[in-house]
């Protein structure tokens, strides 16, 4: 069984700042990491490989500086890694991103299961996985928390509004994996050393994937950002309730009960 895992390298959220004057995101000096949910996706693929054999290839779109993160995935147990890298890919929205990822995946065909994390921590659009499936013309099972192979099919538990369902999908299929549904393994020390010293990453450029600049990056995007702003929050009273524990709880009780009987007036 051949499995492909899409990985995104994302900035550490807590280090991101917003430049109020320029209305831009300050990325300088921000550390990167493999997107959380994508690590869960990789773990899900490695688990299936442990059980059923086959291979796992990781795939990412980004600058050459992403190489160490792909090597980390190799150290965790992936067999091969591919980086889709070209200056022309910069500034892509979900449309252009998913198009490039799908072309990279197609280069690795045939395959049985493609994985994505359910969402990225920075964009959080959740649109890349279904869009990649759309380009590939394969089915997509989203928000998957458990995965197994049953005969010729992949059985997946997915979360839906107010509940869950279990779906049997024919391969090839794309699954997007829920954040936190498993515990990603640690990199293996010997594999890590091997990955750093000897492993050769495969890199595909725009030309390798058969695209022209109008297909990819900012130019190939179908949406544009007209402005950024900080999410406005309503003004709050910000009154600290003080006193002895008893007094605090009593006051809190009054506020809660006021709300319960609809007497609470906000000023």
């Amino acid at each position: 069984m051949k499995q492909i895992v899409c990985l995104k390298v994302t900035p550490k959220l807590e280090q991101i700042k917003f430049d109020e004057q320029k209305k831009t995101i300050v990325r300088e000096g921000v550390e990167n990491e493999i997107n959380d949910a994508d690590k869960n996706a990789l773990e899900a693929a490695l688990k299936l490989k442990d059980a059923a054999g086959g291979s796992v290839v990781v795939l990412s779109m980004g600058p050459p500086s992403f190489e160490p993160f792909l090597k980390l995935a190799i150290a965790m147990g992936a067999d091969d890694a591919v980086l889709l890298s070209d200056r022309a890919f910069a500034g892509a929205d979900t449309y252009a991103t998913s198009r490039v990822l799908a072309a990279g995946i197609q280069k690795l065909a045939p395959f049985d299961i493609v994985y994505c994390g359910e969402a990225s921590v920075d964009g959080s659009t959740e649109q890349v996985p279904p869009s990649v499936a759309g380009w590939l013309g394969i089915s997509h099972v989203s928000y998957v928390s458990q995965l197994s192979v049953v005969g010729e099919k992949v059985r997946a538990r997915r979360e839906i509004t107010d509940g869950h369902e279990v779906v049997d999908a024919k391969t090839p299929v794309l699954v997007s994996v829920q954040l936190g549904c498993n515990s990603p393994r640690f990199p293996d020390f010997r594999r890590k050393r091997w990955a750093e010293k000897e492993f050769k990453l495969t890199v595909f450029s725009m030309q390798d994937l058969g695209f022209v600049p109008a297909d990819v990056g900012l130019e190939g995007s179908h949406t544009e950002v007209t402005g950024l702003s900080r999410m406005r929050s309503p003004e709050r009273r910000r009154e600290f309730i003080e006193g002895t524990e008893e007094e605090i709880v009593k006051r809190l009780g009054q506020i809660v009960n006021g709300a319960r009987v609809g007497e609470l007036v906000r000023n």
Binding site: V121, T125, S142, S233
Partner: protein
């Protein structure tokens, strides 16, 4: 009014129940359509959906396209994409709106590629640009603290998924629109995913509740107490995202940019630090009370009443206080 063009809204249903988020979107779609002087088309897919189609025709849709087929009984992204792409080809809408539920999100991404359309994800607001009439969507990113105002620059229709709870449910109208059956050309072999089990428990959604108690990591994984507090105060129960990620609560209870926005009169937030992706879900709450052991916690900037204290101590005392006969209890 022309029947082509206009606003197209996907109405999601599961086992015969229409998702509220779809009706919210239908209401907002109608508001936009009225502003532009165009029509709203609702699309509903499933098996035995006539009643739900009728309902949608009273909730803002001028026309409801009803695709009724056993092959559409369960949501599958490919089959739903196929049918809706067919509807879009005929109606040629300017805008296509979808509630950002799990199924809605999975549909939107595949459909956008199929239609060659631009897609704005999880918008928390929709507006029409002066002069151009283009659809502007407010898209939260980077943990929800920053909003990007986006528009579609290429392709057609302009697409957006809409976060649950940001728009109000429309009032049903006495006079309904028309319901038109839509022929389904799918074959059984087109369904590549089979649903073998489904379990749904519908309660009052956190986004619709009048009062909500929300627990965070500060509750130290012991959610029995905040749940009890919710019960004794007649509140719905919600959580911050990390508790759901740890598997301690259902994802449907998550408040914030990856969950629901609240519309409550009152929210009691216990042990939540207050990251932007969480507090973005509190914007429409009338009164927020926060309990946190850290006096400098970010959540206190988003609260009307602030209590510095350990959740595991404050919550049981508050339960006793609220339940106390003749005390401050009601």
């Amino acid at each position: 009014m022309n029947s082509s063009g206009g606003v197209f809204v996907f109405v999601e249903q599961t086992d015969g129940v229409v998702e509220e988020s779809s009706l919210e979107v239908l209401g907002k779609g109608r508001e936009i359509a009225d502003k532009l002087g165009v029509c709203v088309t609702g699309a509903i897919l499933g098996e035995g959906i006539q009643d739900m189609a009728e309902l949608c025709s009273h909730m803002g849709a001028h026309t409801v396209l009803a695709a009724d087929s056993p092959l559409l009984k369960n949501f599958t992204a490919e089959a739903y994409t196929e049918v809706i792409a067919g509807m879009v080809k005929i109606r040629d809408p300017d805008m296509l709106l979808i509630g950002a539920t799990h199924n809605g999100t999975a549909l939107a991404g595949m459909l956008a590629v199929r239609l060659g359309a631009g897609l704005m994800a999880h918008v928390v607001d929709l507006e029409i640009e002066e002069g151009t009439g283009a659809l502007l969507g407010s898209v939260p990113g980077f943990g929800g603290g920053i909003v990007a105002v986006c528009r579609c620059k290429k392709g057609r229709p302009q697409m957006a998924t809409v976060r649950t709870g940001v728009f109000k449910l429309p009032e049903p109208t006495e006079k309904g629109g028309s319901v038109e059956p839509f022929p389904v050309g799918l074959k059984p072999e087109d369904i590549r995913c089979e649903v073998v089990e489904r379990k749904v428990e519908r309660g009052t959604s956190v986004s619709k509740a009048e009062r909500v108690v929300i627990a965070g990591l500060g509750c130290k994984e012991n959610l029995a107490l905040p749940r009890e507090l919710a019960a004794v105060t007649g509140s719905a129960f919600g959580v911050s995202r990390p508790l759901a990620d740890k598997g301690l609560a259902s994802k449907n209870l998550v408040v914030g940019s990856t969950g629901s926005s609240l519309n409550a009169k009152f929210a009691l937030v216990v042990g939540v630090s207050g990251a932007a992706h969480f507090t973005s879900g509190l914007r429409s709450v009338e009164t927020v009370v926060a309990v946190n052991s850290d006096p400098s916690a970010e959540i206190f900037k988003h609260a009307d009443y602030c209590v510095v204290g350990d959740a595991s101590k404050v919550v049981p005392r508050l339960i006793a206080e609220v339940a106390k006969p003749g005390g401050s209890g009601a």
